[in-house]
């Protein structure tokens, strides 16, 4: 399945370095509209950085990030503000505002971007809470929520403006099986019901393969594979296979660079 037909986000020739380390080196990614796309790869390959680049929080050294017709890195403050209305992001830690209760957290983007009257805001917030199953928790403070509940509230906040794109930064990390199941279910259902585009950044193979329509695998600053879950299972690459099957040794070695083993041991005895 080729996504070129309708890509809501078109990333071309993206290059970004942090200090000396290249995070992305001429990367091309197309995010298909209305589908769930997963960005995967070993830890530290810059998956969260990609989301920040798409959201305009970071500027790439080179390359274009096209959202429909807008090139994100070139946008001014005003335009960036309007574009951000179309994006919702679920951060790894939930990132709820600790000085407001659940209701206010979800109402926040509505108050910032719209001038809707209070009754309408109330209705929208309650609808979003209902969608994530937490309508009864509206008056709780973030410190009173469990990890899983906090993530769901953060998800409700991310969709409160009905954005075209919802980005999930490592949503499955550190969740217990029930919370995980709830989240997976929610992501899929919301994607179908609300028709937005979902981008999931994760290194959780099992859950991600279950809900992704299209997958990109990043490693060493480049895309090493892309395709539907079925296509990737058949890919003929050591790197990909090691990642997909979770093999302990392969192109990403088990042993950290060290001198020869025998030399090391003998050296101890000799002195």
């Amino acid at each position: 399945m080729k996504p070129e037909s309708d890509a809501i986000i078109d990333i071309r020739g993206l290059s970004f370095s942090r200090g000396d380390r290249p995070i992305f080196d001429g990367v091309d990614i197309k995010i298909p509209r209305g589908k769930v796309t997963a960005i995967m790869g070993p830890s530290g390959t810059g998956k969260t950085t990609l989301l920040k680049l798409i959201g305009g929080q970071l500027r790439p050294d080179r390359g274009d990030i096209l959202l429909d017709d807008l090139n994100i890195p070139t946008l001014g403050r005003r335009e960036l503000f309007e574009v951000r209305e179309r994006m919702g992001m679920l951060f790894q830690s939930g990132a709820l505002f600790t000085d407001m209760d659940v209701f206010e957290n979800i109402a926040f983007p509505l108050r910032v971007h719209t001038t809707l009257p209070e009754e309408m805001i109330r209705d929208i917030v309650l609808m979003k809470l209902q969608a994530v199953g937490l309508r009864g928790a509206r008056a709780l403070m973030p410190s009173e929520l469990s990890g899983g509940m906090a993530r769901r509230v953060a998800l409700a906040r991310a969709i409160s403006l009905d954005p075209d794109i919802v980005m999930y930064d490592e949503p499955f990390t550190g969740q217990d099986p029930i919370a995980m199941g709830v989240l997976v279910n929610l992501i899929r259902r919301l994607n179908q019901a609300l028709g937005h585009t979902s981008i999931i950044v994760s290194h959780d193979i099992k859950e991600t393969l279950g809900i992704a329509d299209y997958i990109y695998i990043l490693s060493d600053a480049k895309v090493i594979a892309s395709g539907t879950p079925k296509e990737l299972a058949d890919v003929d690459s050591d790197k990909v296979r090691q990642f997909m099957q979770g093999l302990p040794d392969g192109p990403v070695p088990f042993h950290y660079k060290a001198p020869d083993y025998m030399q090391d041991l003998l050296g101890e005895i000799q002195s």
Binding site: G55, L80, M87, A95, L96, T98, P109, V112, H113
Partner: protein, 261 residues
Amino acid sequence: MMLNMLQRLGHRSLSRLAALGRASQILFQSLVARPQPLVMLPLVLKQIWFVGVLSLVIIVVSGGFIGMVLGLQGYTILVDYGSEQAVGQMVALSLVRELAPVVAALLFAGRAGSALTAEIGLMKATEQLASLEMIGVDPLRRIIAPRLWAGFICMPLLAMIFAVVGIWGGSLVAVDWLGIYEGSFWANMQQSVSFYDDVVNGIIKAVCFGLVVTWIAVFQGYDCIPTSEGISQATTRTVVYSSLAVLGLDFVLTALMFGEL
């Protein structure tokens, strides 16, 4: 070897300069923009509560004790010259010109400054600042600016309260305990303390200190490494840098204000 040391010195100086640059940037970006009073006022009020009202206890208690000590020590020293009547003006002048602005600023840095740094650092570590940005709100205007304004407003008020409580403490010791005639205590004080030269200068000092302390506290939080270790380092830096800055600035201001007298 020498080259290594030179290189490290250069590197350190450059990074300090870069930090100063970043700090100036956030100061400018937070304060200079179209004012939105409807949104900002409740935020600033809330911060005045956290930064000012909650500091009252330590300010009042410290002010009282320092005033009492000044009264006691002042009496002990002056009585040898037969000038114990001057205790009132001694206490008042010391407090109003120096101790109230400086000590209140140091206490403020320790209590409110460190709290600000920790709070902002924690917001950075839990990605709250980043999510504000993603929603399209500038964290500098929404989080940093109200705290800066609150600091500027609270510091002079706290310094004045410190001075008044201190003078009252001094009067308690001098008049009620050591038996100095109440009339001469206050009359001498009023003769020698000038509103424009002493009180107003003291307030100007407090305003400058408030600016410096709050700016440092807010910048350290915003710029810190977003881990628990990073936050604790930033908090320590806030207290140390603020204290040094207050003392250094105090010397400069004192020289400017009272030096020519």
